[in-house]
Structure formats: structure tokens, C-alpha cells
Amino acid sequence: MSSPDRAGFEEFVAARRGALLRTAYLLTGGHEDAEDLVQVALVKVVPHWHRISDRPEPYVRRVLARESVSRWRRRRWREVGAAEPPEVAAPAHDLAEREMLRRALLSLAPRQRAVVVLRYYEDLTERQTAETLGISVGTVKSQARDGLARLRTLVPDQRGDRADTLRP
């Protein structure tokens, strides 16, 4: 591949690596795993760069999301998650809430987790999520519904309630 391709690729990586790392962190729950996932995804994109260089984002996101699912199948990672759902009266500290959300997210199956991240973090539509992961729209709907239901059980939303009680 020619130098313009390389330059374009490196420019894209410089601009979007941070965003990719954030998505990868939500998908993997760990710093090292997130960096590893983004590296692998970007390396896998290189052979196809000449085809996608005009609009690389959707393809890169697709590789990232699918790799997050398939690597779990290969390595059978066992992320550490909460053994029991937290008590309703959760600690108010943001760090603790983030940790609870991180663990709750990790307790989802990899594909379910990817659906939740793509739908509610990346703001993709159901169809876009389905195309990214190579599954049906119906599966996206059911996985999103079940994923959120589990998250609500593990990490109840306190802020909305507190806002309600505080308002006169």
C-alpha cells in the first residue's frame, strides 16, 4: 500500500484512538485489555484501508465490536464481576458507582455488552448496531432489553430518584 494510505491511517489513529479506547474500555472493563483490543482492531483494519479510507469509522467500529466478542470466545476471559447485586442503598461516591457500573457491565455476556455499548454509548440505531455486529435487528432489541434489565437490577439509577425527591 502507498504512503498516502499510511499517512491517512496514522492521521485517523491519532484523531480517533482516544474515542476508540473509551469504547474498548466499556467493552472490556480493563485498561490493558482495552489497549490490546484497540491495537488488534487497528492492525486488522490496515489490509482493508485502501477500501475504507474515505469513511473508516463504521468499519473500524465493526472490527472493534466483533473482535471484543470473538476474543472472549477464544480466550474465555472470565472478567471479575459482582457476585451479588449491590444493595439498593448504594454508596453515593461517583468512583464507587462507576466501579459498580463497570462490574455490572462485565457481568453481561460479551455480545449483550457490545449491544448495550453500541446502542447507548455510541448512539447507534438498532439497524446500525445489527449491521456492526452481524446480527438481526430482533436480536439487538432483545439483547438491549435484557442487558438493561440486568443492569437495572445490579446498578439501580439513584440520581433520577434523588432529583425527584429533592424537587418541591
Binding site: 500500500m1 499510511r6 491511517f9 496514522e10 489513529v13 491519532a14 484512538r17 482516544g18 479506547l21 473509551r22 469504547t23 474498548a24 474500555y25 466499556l26 485498561h31 482495552a34 489497549e35 491495537q39 488488534v40 487497528l42 492492525v43 486488522k44 483494519v45 490496515v46 489490509p47 484501508w49 470473538s70 461517583d94 462507576r98 457500573l101 463497570r102 457491565l105 448495550v116 455499548v117 446502542r119 447507548y120 454509548y121 448512539d123 438493561l148 443492569l151 446498578v155 439509577d157 440520581r159 433520577g160 432529583a163 425527584d164 424537587r167
Partner: protein, 450 residues
Amino acid sequence: MSTERPDERWGTRLRDLAEEAPRALPDPALWDRGRRYARLRRGGTAAVAALGVLAVVAVGAVSWQRAAPPAQLAPASAPAAMPDRLYDPSPWLTGTEEEGPLGQLAAIIPAERGSWTGKETEIVGVSATTGEYRFLDLPRQADVGVALSPDGRHVAYWATGETTESPNLRDGGALPPAGVAIYDSVTGRVELHDIATAHGLMASDLVWADLSTLLVNYAQYRGGEGDPDMDRSLGRNVPWQVLRLGGELRELGSPLDDGDVWGGGDGVVVMSGSGRNVGRWLVDPARPRQPQRLRLDRGSFVPPRVSPDRRRIAGVPGNRAPNRLAVADLSGDGRSAFEPVPGSRRTLEVIAWNDEEHVVVLRHDRDEVGMYYVTVVETAVESGEQRDLVVVPPDLANSPQFALDLLGGPIVEAVEPPDPMDPRVVVGLSGGAVVAAGAGILVWRRRVQP
């Protein structure tokens, strides 16, 4: 109350969590690693594809090698000779329509012929010059008997054809015989003789009296499709017919026209008579109205053969075979007595006389593991001394027909015919190799990691 929808709340919470993601660090080696990954992927793909191609080539090579004609084949100009053994033909041999005629034949063998949809019994010819085996593609062949001429140059067979009324269809809907055909094994030309018939012919016998005279026996079916079962299973007898090469089919004109032909040889046939003609008769098709009564001391025997000088007759007396070979002298005035030939207890049948002192018989033999097989043997009628001519493998039993005139000539080492692979297996294996290679490529491209 929060103004955010529930899904927007989750988006906010996830974005909040994502703030904990690691900071992006530059990695200038990514592009090069990507290139190496691309090379690895291409290399693996090429390797799997090459394996697939290799597998297809290997299947093709094995198939070609098994189908290749033997290197020891004699040229077509070689003198005609009988091979010293026959082989069980492969169902996947080529045919004369594809490869051309075999030339003078040493033998013909009924054998199963394979096709994409199954197998059918057809006729394999064994060349008397090259030793090749090939299916004989006989136009309009009905699935009943065939007869090889004594010199191996002609094959007579029953031919299907038009009927004037409903045909008497055979098993599987096949048309009945409606004529006689003679195939020239040297030129590949066929003489077709259609016979006028309402429902088809109940084929009975095709017998070569000599190398150019064919005796034909059949009946006319009384009914065809849609007729009562009784009519469909019965036939109206027709007198024996005679057909000379290049001539027309006509009545033999013998007073024994309702008899059976019991072998013969060298231009004459032995026919049985009924009524006032009961007994065995020697009939010369050239003089059919002057049959010679055979006065024999045995009433029943496996079909006999007459010596070239017509002075002796050889057969296997009795109703069972194998049995002892016996010879009777026809030259006396009284009843001819069969004299047993020493050491000939395992004789199945007499098929020819090589000269006035030697007959050719089928002998019943058993191999070292107890399997029965047939050997074509020349036997001296006085001493019983035997000389093995042709070994027939057990699977063929006594089904082959031989060019009888060649049994008195040189015997040559047989050439084993090719054993081609079933083409369906070849296609299946090749297709399987392609599919496996395709699947392997897919798996490789999915599984290979940078």
C-alpha cells in the same frame, strides 16, 4: 423528575464510566504490524488454497492413472490370439461409441456398466489383437442374449423396435425385441433386421452355425400393454430362421422347426425333434431338409459338439454337471456309444473341437481358498491329456463367450484392463476438496491473529 429518557440516562452513565479509559499513546508501528498481518493472512490463504488444489490434482492423478490403458497392450495390427485369462471388467470402462471398435474379439463378457444414476448389464468385448476391454455400444440392444461368432468378428443380438400394436414392455418399461442385429467388431457397422411384430418378440436363441451363418429362434407375443396377463406371457412359435451375413432373415426350412438347438459346431447344429422326429438330429443349415439322425446310447446330455469331420460328437452325458466328458463315434451304422474320456470328471460343458482329436471344455476348478472358478481346457479325447487355455475368475462363472476358432490358436499372456474410479466419487472427492479448502480459508482468515 429527570427530563432524560431512560436510555439517555444509561448513555450518560456509560459516558461517565468511559472517562476512566486509558489515555491514547502514539503507536507508530501499527501500520507495519498491519502490513505483516496482511502478508500472514494472504500466505495462509494461499497455502490452504494450494492444499485444496493439490488434493484435486491428487484425485485427478489417481483417477487418470487407474483409467490409463495398460502399457503392455499389443498394437491393433498384432495377430489375433486368445488371452490366457479373463478379468472381471470395471463398470467404468469406456465404450466403443467413445473409443471406437475393438477389432476382432477373443471373448465377450456380460458385465454391469455404471452411470450417474445406477448400473445396467451390458456387454464387454475383449480384443483378440490388443487385449483391451471395452463396453460394446450396441444400437437398440434389447436386454436379452447375445452371441459371438466363432471367429470373434461379429456379435449377434436382439434389437428393440416398433410394434404394430401395443408393445409387451419388459421390466422397467423397456421395449421388447423387434428384430435381430449383427455388430461388426472390426468396422463398428451394424446390420439391423427388423421383424414385423404386433407386440414384440419372445426371444429364444441366437446360434452361430459357422462364422457367417446365424440361426434365430423366437416366438411372437400374443399380447402387449393393456392385454390380459395370459396373452402377455404367452407366445406363438415361429419356425427357426436363418440369417447369413449380408443376407436377409428367412425360414430355415427344416422339418425340425419346433426343436431346440443343442450346440453343434463347424457348420452344423444338433437339434432335438418331437413327435415322429423325436430324438437328436444333425442339421446343416445349407441342407436343412436333410437332417441326419443321431443314434446315441444316451438320451440326455449337456449340449454336445460335433467334430470338424462330423465323425464324432462330444458332450457331458447325464443331467448334471460337472460330470465326465464323453465322446461318441457317429460313423457306424448302429447306436453310437459314449465313451468316457479319462480324467475328465470335472467337465461342465463342451464348447468346441480344436481338431479331430482335441475338444475344448469348461472345467470346474476350485482355488486354494475353496472358491469355484472355470478354466477353459483343451482335452485330448483319447488320452484325456489336458492343456489349460484360459482361466475365468470366479465372479464371471461360465458367463463369457469365446471366439471358438481362436481357442485352437496361440494363447498369449492377458493384459489386465484398467480399473477407473467411479466418476461420481471423483467429482465428490474433488468437490469435497474444494469445499474443504474454501472452509479452511474462511476459518483461517477469521482465526488468524496479528
